[in-house]
Symmetry: C2
Subunit: 176 residues, 2 copies
């Protein structure tokens, strides 16, 4: 995913350096991906070495050099290829907290119930945050992009709701 996000952002917003890409991701995509700054620099170097990006070092008036990366034709092709590969990908989730129940013998039933209770209690507020982010994003996006914003946030909303429904279901199953 990291290379795709980098290539896509360079395509959309033009030549940039690593820190600006990180900032875009942190500002606009924090709900959708959790890429860290050194990961971005890693892939920028790698893709430059592979010829997907061209790197130009700038030395503006003040000293520290920055490296500005821009998309090559090969990079644009790689972006298209990565996107089309996604179309064939399957949904195959894995949830860390499943281990709690797979190893349920390590807990007393009351501990499991307390966990689910507190977990469910956190999910409601998280849903509110998601929806606040959606409103915020809609305010900063051109009209023709709004349907996509809705689709993206709806995706997360539905899975947060599923997680909440699960916590409540599980609580009921434990008490039965």
């Amino acid at each position: 995913m990291v290379p795709l996000y980098i290539l896509g952002l360079l395509k959309r917003y033009g030549p940039q350096h690593g820190y600006r890409i990180k900032k875009t991701i942190a500002d606009m995509l924090s709900d959708f991906t959790h890429i860290k700054l050194p990961t971005i620099y890693y892939h920028l170097s790698k893709m430059a070495a592979d010829g997907l990006l061209s790197a130009i070092s700038e030395k503006p008036g003040a000293r520290p050099e920055k490296t500005v990366y821009s998309l090559t034709d090969k990079g644009a092709a790689a972006c298209r290829r990565l996107l089309s590969e996604l179309l064939a990908a399957e949904y195959r989730p894995a949830f860390d907290n499943d281990a709690i129940f797979y190893f349920a013998e390590h807990f007393r039933p009351a501990e499991l119930a307390a966990y689910l209770q507190s977990y469910a209690g956190k999910l409601g507020p998280m849903l509110d945050i998601i929806n606040a982010h959606r409103e915020e994003t809609l305010r900063h996006v051109p009209d023709d992009a709004k349907p996509m914003v809705h689709i993206l946030f709806r995706h997360h909303e539905l899975h947060f709701q599923a997680e909440l429904a699960w916590a409540r279901d599980a609580l009921r199953m434990l008490q039965k």
Copy 2:
């Protein structure tokens, strides 16, 4: 997650070597985690070096050595600690296919619709497979473990349903 699964399985089923742990995970946990064999060996070595496991090389009649790992007291403590850390973890999903819609400018609307249609078409059969696995698992598990099996599979069922609901919603949003 990998160390926790290894420690938990060693605790429950006693001393084992890497291949058997992998087999248990592949046979019983394939819906819940996707750990590969070299990853298991990596963590076995590491945890042995850290004193969480003790390793004993066996040379049974036939030649090839196997290394049997068993839990030390320190390993049992680590298992408890990892499990209790999970109780505090938050739900923070990321979906690869979100990139399709974040970079929707690369697709024609009809391509996006075709993707969602085919994606939704795959999710139904996957749900059936999940539920078949649940039945199969219930048949091989003692009565007192059955509620946990239901909780685990319900978790995945709900998220597959959420994914399906999203695909259909998104299709509607595109057509509007």
